[in-house]
């Protein structure tokens, strides 16, 4: 039997590793390495290796479903699309288009995300968002303000060229495992690695300097470092003068903030802060990698700005081995943002509140009345749904009932909607409360482009047919749009990409033909002969007068702190074997078999006081709810802090809805909680 190797992009994290799906008799039978792939060099983490397990999974949705009595009835696509058109159409007719909301998916292709946001805006609602809100909204807001572009400044393999790598709020060894190979390459060449994290994680194993700070004190740590750099004159005066503005004000803001003060707040010894400051500032090329430990805070935007401040004052940006590197969580969260599936941006990061943008797209889409943004963010939509300001929702490939904070109230809010349609590959917690569920194709069952965390746009080909009557998201969106009276005539992903080439300047030169041939292009790529731009900001910033802006930030404590009633700080994160809400990984036998249960990491000293042994079942409770988990005692976590992975339904029952005032990201990383042994 002939085996065909189909090149695809891993459906899990944002690293965007490529691999071949081996297809035999129309089934995906194996994975073959892609040794020339620029990011992974053929490597795959455990999730990538298990990715095929979800393709032919028995729980896949194979037919459109509608709610019937207490269960579900299989229906035809005609009926399903009719129901969606009626549900959304009635809500629009009765309450107006701004009473409906759409959630795009950072798991879908660029083309699909483009169409979803276009659908939303042509229907007249500004409420279109995606789950970037829950991971990197502060990066979009913060980096757009300071650097003029939201994305990793340098490609992942460039990490190997760095001589000092500062990893803050990222457990990349577990969440983006292939990134660690480049860090090790840098270490082989003599690089110093600094890791700041409340937990000792496998990432911290790589560290030469490990700063174990208290959750929510990142700004204090970064300011302490900045203070030391300024004090010792390790700043790059030439760079500051030529390329930035705002340094004077910044200098004033850090003047008082000594490492000793930072030590007081963060719990990190002052000498370590000083060592880190010297290492970062004095190396020939330093790089900062961060992810959700920085962004998922009420101070997320401040954290991001504090990070970019460090890079700007030392001039560690715009060259090989330097930069500010937000590691994105989902395989296409970068692309979904690029495509404008965000409340504040139209495609290509054009501001939604700018009349120029509206004019531009009115012409491009031949639509006279496009809504002005910003609309309601993903988390605000839920609140609006609860209060009746949103009447109908169309959710594509997202699971807010699991992934959003305070998930019990999310579920209640969604249940209160007049009409909810969910489009997914599995029956997620969100789909369970929907009126209509549409079965979608998984990544290898459709084609399209994905943009990874380093802005590399890659084409993923179709390997196998979707199960049952499931359809690619692109086709479903077109069906729904046409049933709502819109002229969505896109025969395939390539035809959508052609429109993207015309409307998104960063993608202008990223054509289907080039992606097929060249195996990935890094945006901005403004024309067909442009080679792509792996390193941003090498000749200035896309801001007024081309200067990066140094923005003073002020330390604010997290929304919740320890109290007598809730004496522990709960922080959340990911583990190596699961991905996000886990709708895929918890169905993968080889992954769930290795990490079957929700656990909570506790410092042994704390545990002893509470009389908890390793493996005991404990109740973790916050003001919002209570969850059971198995205790896991480890010295790796600070006293007074506990950690839970958020891949299981229980965790987000606990987390707070308190959000960053600008980026509206919830503070997943700090919640005050109480622990008690379950007997």
């Amino acid at each position: 039997m002939t085996k065909v190797l189909v090149p695809t992009i891993c459906p899990y994290c944002g690293a965007g590793c490529g691999f071949f799906v081996a297809v035999e008799r129309e089934r995906a039978v194996g994975i073959e390495q892609m040794p020339y792939h620029p990011v992974g060099e053929g490597a795959l983490c455990s999730k990538g290796n298990a990715s095929l397990e979800i393709l032919h999974h028995q729980e896949r949705l194979t037919s459109p479903l509608k709610r019937k009595d207490d269960g579900w009835a299989k229906i035809s696509w005609d009926e399903a699309v009719g129901l969606v058109a009626r549900g959304i159409g009635e809500a629009m007719r009765d309450y107006g288009p701004e009473k409906i909301a759409l959630l795009a998916s950072s798991k879908c292709t660029n083309e699909e995300n483009y169409l979803i946001q276009k659908l939303a805006r042509l229907l007249g609602t500004p409420h279109i968002d995606n789950c970037a809100r829950l991971c990197h909204a502060p990066s979009v807001v913060g980096l757009n303000r300071t650097l003029g572009a939201a994305g990793m400044t340098n490609p992942i393999p460039d990490i190997a060229n760095s001589r000092c790598i500062f990893i803050i709020g990222s457990n990349l060894a577990e969440n983006h495992p292939v990134v660690s190979r480049w860090i090790h390459r840098a270490k082989d060449a003599g690089a110093v690695v600094i890791v700041a994290d409340p937990r000792a994680t496998p990432t911290s194993w790589m560290a030469d300097i490990f700063l174990q700070l208290s959750p929510g004190t990142d700004v204090a740590l970064l300011k302490g470092i900045a203070h030391q750099i300024v004090k010792e004159g390790l700043i790059d005066r030439g760079y500051i003068a030529e390329r930035t503005r705002g340094f004077e004000e910044f200098e004033g803001s850090v003047g008082e903030f000594t490492p000793e003060m930072a030590a007081e707040i963060t719990g990190v010894p002052a000498e370590d802060i000083i060592r880190a400051a010297r290492a970062y500032a004095s190396s020939p090329a330093s790089m900062i990698l961060y992810s959700m430990g920085i962004t998922q805070h009420t101070t997320g935007t401040d954290n991001v700005q504090a990070v970019s401040n460090l890079a700007l004052i030392t001039g560690h940006i715009g060259r090989a081995g330097t930069g500010v590197m937000p590691l994105r969580g989902q395989n296409n969260v970068q692309g979904a943002c690029d495509m404008g599936a965000l409340v504040e941006f139209y495609p290509g990061y054009r501001r939604a509140d700018d009349p120029g943008t509206i004019d531009l797209f009115s012409t491009a889409w031949e639509a006279p009345a496009l809504p002005t943004g910003p609309g309601l963010t993903a988390t605000e939509m839920i609140g609006a749904a609860a209060s009746g300001d949103i009447r109908a929702m169309y959710i594509v490939g997202e699971d807010p009932a699991n992934s959003d904070p305070s998930s019990l109230s999310v579920k209640r809010a969604l249940e209160g909607l007049d009409f909810l349609v969910v489009q997914d590959i599995f029956m997620t917690a969100t789909a369970l409360v929907a009126d209509v569920v549409l079965p979608a194709a998984a990544w290898a069952e459709k084609e399209g482009s994905f943009t990874n965390t380093e802005r590399r746009v890659q084409w993923s080909s179709k390997a196998v047919e979707p199960p049952g009557s499931a359809l690619p998201d692109l086709e479903i969106i077109c069906l729904v749009a046409r049933s709502l009276g819109l002229d969505f005539d896109y025969p395939d992903a390539a035809s959508v990409l052609a429109e993207i080439n015309r409307t998104v300047p960063q993608y202008a030169g990223i054509t289907r033909e080039r992606l097929g041939k060249e195996g990935g292009l890094v945006w901005p790529c403004p024309s067909c002969d442009h080679p792509g731009t792996p390193i941003l900001h090498s000749s200035g910033f896309r801001l007024a007068d081309g200067r990066g802006s140094i923005v003073p930030v002020h330390y604010r404590p997290a929304a919740e702190g320890e109290s007598l009633e809730y004496p522990f700080l709960l922080t959340t994160g990911r583990i190596a074997l699961h991905h996000n809400a886990g709708s895929m990984t918890r169905r993968s036998p080889s992954l769930i078999g290795r990490a079957p249960d929700l656990f909570v990491e506790i410092n042994p000293a704390d545990a002893e006081k509470l009389g908890i042994d390793d493996g005991d079942l404990v109740a973790v409770s916050t003001e919002r709810g209570e969850t059971e988990a198995a205790a896991r005692l480890t010295e790796g976590i600070k006293r007074g802090v506990v950690f839970m992975p958020f891949h299981f339904p229980g965790t987000n029952i606990l987390t707070t809805e308190a959000a960053d005032p600008e980026a509206r990201i919830p503070e997943f990383k700090v919640s005050a909680c109480r622990i008690a042994r379950r007997d």
Binding site: Q33, P35, S46, E174, G190, S590, G636
Partner: protein, 145 residues
């Protein structure tokens, strides 16, 4: 041929376990062990020069072939003597023995190809050269840290 691990690189992601399981029909031959939350190490067959498993095998299913310890599934009866004879506990038996076959027929063992941290290699010289150069540079920069 055997393969080697650079323990300082291993990040405990268990990719090798899952990959091995994938290419061997659900029966993996690698197990990642964690030590005190401070290090992890994949344990796999060393293809011992004097292989105890082969010495204990009565049916000829396990045997030395050049430098590797080969396994002929056709001959295995699942007696489990090899599992008890492996000093490292990395030969498993469940109705039938299974152990590392260096991914026979593939250009490179899958665990080596898939290791995200580049911690595994079939080339011991390469690993030790890399480790030596890292050690030397760390020593040279010792003052600055």
């Amino acid at each position: 041929m055997a393969f080697y691990v650079d323990i300082t690189r291993c990040i405990g992601c268990r990719s090798c376990e899952v990959a091995c399981e994938r290419v061997h029909g659900g029966r993996g031959h690698v197990q990642v062990h964690f030590v005190e939350d401070s290090a992890s190490v994949p344990l796999f067959c060393h293809h011992c020069e004097e292989a105890s498993c082969a010495a204990a095998c009565f049916s000829g299913a396990l045997f030395k072939e050049d430098t590797r310890t080969a396994f002929d599934v056709e001959k295995c009866t699942g007696c489990g003597l090899c599992s008890l004879a492996c000093p490292f506990g990395v030969v498993w038996t469940d109705k039938i023995a299974h152990k590392c076959d260096l991914c026979d027929g593939r250009p490179e063992p899958t665990c080596v190809a898939t290791c995200p941290a580049d911690a595994l290699s079939t080339d011991l010289d390469h690993l030790s050269r890399r480790a030596r150069s890292r050690g030397a540079r760390a020593a040279a920069q010792g003052g600055r840290r």
